[in-house]
């Protein structure tokens, strides 16, 4: 099959059908009788909360897992199960969230290698692989440096490499797992333009995504799973953001604005004046009151994260004053920030905030050991009480507190990070992108936890570019542009339009 020939696969015909797939893990059903039909030239959005069975279904289609029953029909031929090699030979390609590329090999080698494996080749030639890779790259109108090692590429270019790799195997089905999570807005638009070109070639695409607007923007078909069951499947035009959330969670998800009344009558818990770090942010001043949720937003690279990192002592501001609870505080390191009662949930929760192989219990207690000490030793009863309290209060879904954090879904891992900081009893809690990569149901619950903490008197700063989230919880929003606060939105002025204008203007 030639890549230059877009009519090689007719659009509009089904290329792959998964029928009545059942899969159980140790007695727990991950999928009960789920079916999925993929059509040539269509983008199929596969949506569902964490743990709904999306990943399991993808693994079965790609041959990484064997189904207990059901069949996979590819081009009219039924298979009881696939193997990774089968899947690649049948033109089924999965682009995982981590892309599964080889960082130390060049772009050209990465693009060509899997097809060489699938063809059961014994020899490999760099010279022959380069033109083959070049053809794909030119064909898609991309500019990729084929001789560059993949580890030096940006995330977007890595993704493009993974897409090229899928196409060189004459992919007829490309499954993309959370393709937009790590991309900037303009990179997402470029990806969608490329998706259009893939559709024109007759490729059937599957988008697994949490981001509902994006899924709706790009998809023709939608399938929603919940707890391993197929809830609904149909053309994308039948869905809107609201109905997808409802199908995913089984209830109406409340994204409406709901805020507490902060204690503006008292002195602010945090007063920042003229905080400056050249190259990152300049003359940043604001107050934070007890019970208030303050949003800090701006484009990536605007300095929004750096402000929070300076307040937490990760970066050191060059000038400016910080007053915590009426006391002038100089924050020179993370220790100073924690001592002053400031907590920070970093942007990349999986790498920066957690010990992945340690238990939930160990993680929860990790940053508050000081508070659980008695005569120099850890007070095990107090430790246990804090862990149980946080575990229950944050409703972490896990068999018990001894489960390793690696085994948790994104939303639950985020709750463990929250628990860790709440165990320390901070006066001020800063959260950077608190719901990135978290599904709608968990997002709502995390926002509810934030509201509850604010109501209990904590001052909270949410750094985010998720507009609905900011509107839903913030009392005030600071818009950061090129390191300066360009606008402050309060009360009724907090609307999605106002935030977007402030960020772009």
């Amino acid at each position: 099959m030639s890549l230059e020939d877009p009519s090689a696969t007719e659009t509009g015909v089904p290329v792959l059908e998964a029928r009545n797939i059942v899969k159980t893990y140790g007695g727990v059903a991950a999928l009960h009788g789920v079916s999925l039909t993929l059509t040539a030239g269509h983008v199929h959005a596969l949506a569902g909360e964490n743990g709904c069975g999306k990943s399991t279904l993808i693994k079965i289609i790609s041959g990484a897992e064997r189904p207990d029953s059901g069949e996979i029909v590819v081009n009219g031929v039924a298979h009881s199960h696939m193997t990774p090699k089968d899947a690649i030979q049948q033109g089924i390609q999965v682009i995982y969230q981590d892309f599964s590329l080889f960082p130390n090999l060049t772009v050209a080698e990465n693009i060509v290698l899997t097809s060489a494996v699938a063809q059961k080749r014994k020899l490999f030639s760099r010279k022959q692989s380069r033109p083959a890779a070049q053809r794909i790259v030119d064909d898609l109108g991309l500019s990729l440096d084929l001789d560059q090692e993949v580890e030096r590429l940006s995330v977007a270019d890595k993704q493009l490499t993974a897409i090229c790799r899928a196409l060189i195997n004459d992919a007829r089905v490309i499954i993309m797992d959370e393709p937009t999570t790590a991309l900037t807005h303009s990179e997402v638009q470029r990806l969608f333009a490329l998706v259009g070109r893939l559709r024109a070639r007759g490729v059937a695409l599957v988008f697994v995504s949490h981001k509902l607007e994006e899924a709706l923007q790009v998809a023709q078909d939608v399938t929603i799973l919940r707890n391993g069951e197929l809830i609904i499947s149909g053309p994308a035009t039948d869905f809107d953001r609201r109905s997808i959330s409802r199908y995913m969670t089984g209830r109406d998800v409340d994204e409406s604005r709901l805020v507490n009344a902060p204690r503006y009558d008292r002195d602010p818990v945090l007063q920042v004046t003229d905080l400056t770090l050249p190259g990152a942010f300049e003359k940043v001043s604001f107050d934070l009151h007890a019970g208030e949720i303050l949003g800090v937003t701006g484009l990536l690279g605007s300095g929004r994260s750096e402000i929070a990192e300076a307040l937490f002592g990760v970066l050191r501001a060059e000038s400016g004053t910080t007053i915590v609870d009426g006391k002038a505080t100089s924050i020179r390191g993370i220790r100073d920030a924690i001592d002053a009662g400031i907590g920070y949930v970093p942007e990349d929760r999986l790498t920066q905030g957690l010990f992945l192989d340690k238990s939930i219990a160990d993680n929860v207690i990790a940053s508050s050991l000081e508070r659980h000490r008695r005569r120099g030793l850890l007070d095990s009863r107090k430790v246990a009480a804090t862990i149980t309290d946080q575990f229950n209060r944050l409703r972490i879904k896990a068999p018990n507190v001894e489960a390793p954090v690696r085994s948790l879904s994104g939303g639950n891992a985020q709750r463990v990070v929250l628990a860790k900081w709440l165990a320390n009893g901070p006066k001020i809690l800063m959260l950077n992108g608190p719901t990135v990569g978290v599904d709608v149901g968990s997002k709502e619950e995390i926002l509810a936890i934030l509201r509850a903490q604010a109501a209990a008197g904590m001052g909270i700063i949410v750094i985010s570019d998720d507009v609905p989230e900011l509107v839903a919880v913030c009392n005030r929003i600071l818009v950061v542009k090129q390191g300066r606060i360009s606008a402050t939105l309060t009360g009724d002025h907090i609307t999605p339009e106002a935030i977007q204008e402030g960020m772009a203007a």
Binding site: P84, N104, E109
Partner: protein, 345 residues
């Protein structure tokens, strides 16, 4: 974008800093020549090449294992086990075996011991360092307890023949000096292993699992099969190194080679192979071996006690690993900087 000039410079540097290593080697030779004018002579060159024969072969096996993301400390045990057992078997048979028989027996033994390593590592997914540390002890113990602990001076025909053969003789300061013939098969072997790593799917698979085992599995590689094969190949290379060692020393001593792990692993790591896996080349490894031989040789020439040789090699290993860790961190920072530029654009 980098200018053409910097790109050319970068390519001279090599993907695994081979260029830098070659430069260090040249600088070292120049310095030694200044200190001792006798250093730069055919005699020294041939001596260094001769002393590199066994370390190079052993290093090639270690290179393959390190590229795959593992580490092997059992190769000296495999080398001497295979070579010594072959000598004992041939002598016991009463037939004066030729080179093909000697190689067939010893390489088969090496393959078998490599299979033990590979089987344990691939089947039970055990850490490579611990497995090879354990098998090293087992191989050594079995050799001494069941095969023999005696020093053997009369070798089979297949080994004797090559012990003193030379390929090149040149006059050097009045006397003639010769290059040992066994340099030739080692050069051929380097070319073969280079082709194996670069131009076969097996070689690409070794790099792939060293890069990211899970990604390799998803790409369709049979990780278990690859691991077993690569430890068998490493075992065969170790056995070949053992045979060469016995041939060169003209005697079989079951205590030999043990303890040379440091030199060999240091040579491979200095040669640009990443201890994190996925990186390394035959050219770099050969340069690494030569560098260590030159340093050892220089220290002897300068009259420095041999205890310091170990220190020097140990120091080089730590520096080699340190350079890798630092450059890896720089590389990740570069990606980050690049991302920020993209984001602002």
């Amino acid at each position: 974008m980098s200018s053409p000039a910097t790109t050319r410079l970068a390519s001279l540097r090599g993907t695994n800093n081979e260029g830098v290593l070659a430069l260090i080697l040249i600088v070292l030779v120049v310095i030694m020549t200044f200190i001792n004018s006798d250093f730069l002579s055919a005699g020294t060159l041939f001596a260094i090449l001769r002393s590199s024969i066994v370390p190079t072969v052993l290093a090639l096996g270690v290179l393959i294992v390190i590229i795959s993301g593992g580490i092997d400390v059992s190769f000296p045990a495999i080398a001497i086990f295979s070579a010594y057992t072959t000598v004992v078997l041939v002598q016991g048979s009463g037939v004066d075996a030729g080179v093909l028989v000697v190689l067939a027996i010893s390489l088969a033994l090496g393959a078998l011991l490599g299979l033990v390593n590979g089987g344990l590592i691939a089947r039970f997914k055990l850490p490579t360092l611990i497995v090879t540390l354990g098998t090293q002890g087992i191989f050594k113990g079995v050799l001494l307890a069941y095969v023999g602990s005696r020093y053997i001076a009369d070798l089979p025909l297949g080994m004797r023949t090559f012990s003193t053969m030379s390929v090149l003789t040149v006059p050097d300061g009045g006397e003639n000096t010769s290059l040992h013939a066994l340099v030739v098969p080692v050069i051929v072997l380097c070319l073969v292993v280079n082709a194996l790593l670069r131009n076969t799917m097996f070689g690409r698979g070794v790099y792939a699992i060293g890069n990211d085992t899970e990604a390799a599995r998803r790409a369709g590689f049979s990780v278990m099969k690859l691991q077993v094969i690569l430890y068998v190949v490493a075992g065969v290379l170790a056995a070949f190194g053992g045979v060469l060692h016995v041939t060169l020393t003209r005697s079989a001593n079951p205590q030999d080679l043990l303890g040379t792990e440091l030199d060999t692993i240091a040579a491979v790591v200095l040669g640009g192979a990443s201890i994190f896996g996925g990186r390394g080349s035959v050219l770099g490894t050969v340069l690494g071996v030569l560098l260590i031989q030159v340093i050892n040789n220089s220290l002897i020439l300068m009259g420095i006690p041999s205890a310091w040789q170990r220190t020097a090699v140990g120091l080089l290993l730590v520096i080699g690993v340190g350079v890798q860790a630092i450059s890896a961190r720089r590389a990740s920072r570069r990606v980050f900087a690049h991302r920020e530029v993209v984001a602002q654009a």
